[in-house]
């Protein structure tokens, strides 16, 4: 990924996509296994697999401001 170390993409009405070099730490400071290179973090607050998105934002009509 050349110069870039990590990036966060704001998906309209949806999650945050994380790419590149990142680490997700839980409240206890322990790393959370991301399972894949690009992850979607929930920002609607309704996911059943937080911190990851599970698509629930679509059913709940979550809207982001742009």
């Amino acid at each position: 990924m050349l110069e870039r170390q990590g990036s966060i993409e704001l998906c309209p009405d949806g999650p945050l996509l994380l790419r590149g070099d990142f680490e997700i730490l839980g409240a206890d400071g322990e790393p959370i296994d991301a399972h894949r290179k690009t992850v979607a973090l929930c920002r609607c607050g309704l996911s059943s697999i937080k911190p990851f998105c599970d698509g629930t934002h679509k059913a709940s009509g979550f809207r982001t401001e742009e």
Binding site: C11, P12, D13, R36, T38, A40, D54, G55, T56
Partner: protein, 338 residues
Amino acid sequence: MRLPEARGNASDALFTLLSRSERHARGSGGAIAEAVAGAEDVLTDDDLQVALFVLYELHYRGIDGVEDAWEWHPELLAIRALIEAAFEARLREVVPRPPRPEPTRRAVADALFELTADTGGPSLSRFVARQADESQLREFLIQRSIYQLKEADPHAWAIPRLEGVAKAALVEIEADEYGGGDPARMHAAIFAQTMRGLGLDDSYGAYVDQVPAITLASANMMSLFGLHRRLRGAIVGHLAAFEMTSSIPNKLYGNGFRRNGFGEDVTWYFDEHVEADAVHEQIAARHLAGGLIEAEPELLDDVLFGASACLTIDGIVGERILAAWTTGQSSLRQQVTA
């Protein structure tokens, strides 16, 4: 995989031809042309769908006892073209045309999210979550195995046909489908593990003889879209719709297996798809489909067609399984004794 059983004159003629050496090819085109002409509905025609499935498998893993050289034999390509023309025409007839968005990334993504939104009607995933018993779960896996054991393969045909944003997006999704470099995490391999967990045969193509024509049609549609560069918009639309209708149903499928007492070794496949496809759907809608339309706006209708075809055909597959189950029947052609 094993050569499946013929389901009529066309597949019988084709399979007989394939059992010979490619150098001694001699016509089965006549029988196929007759079957195509006589077919009431190609989508549910067992004879033509199993013939097409086998013709496509020559491009994937091959068929036991069939010479690999058949793959590009002109006679077979001609036969394939005959079935494909009827198949594509029928798809274009039955698949509804969604409203056309502006050819921008954002508008295309919005249109796809709109098209794929859950309508809340009766669904296979809700049935599986609430009431499917163990033998129905097994049937469900058998139906799915036709595609899931080669999960992501038909869409991979599109990679060299795309450029830029869309290509990077497709590779980003496909790399995750293929386990991100770990063969044990490959989605097809995780699905095989789920099959073994229910005592099923996880070898490639083991249950082709058991599934109805429409299930084969669902897989054949992906191969049709994937193998023709002309239809690259359709395979992109197909993948987008597939990813965008996956996370929530997979949560329900997983719940059905948990309710029947199965553990994480069996539910991993579904749990993985809840999480992975919440990522994939964003990439597929915005960068793959949206990115493709920004680069090649003339493909908009094909992207919508592919997405709508995915929803329509897989919708029929689901309805038929549900209809069988709710009347106490099996959705398979023959009962499987596991």
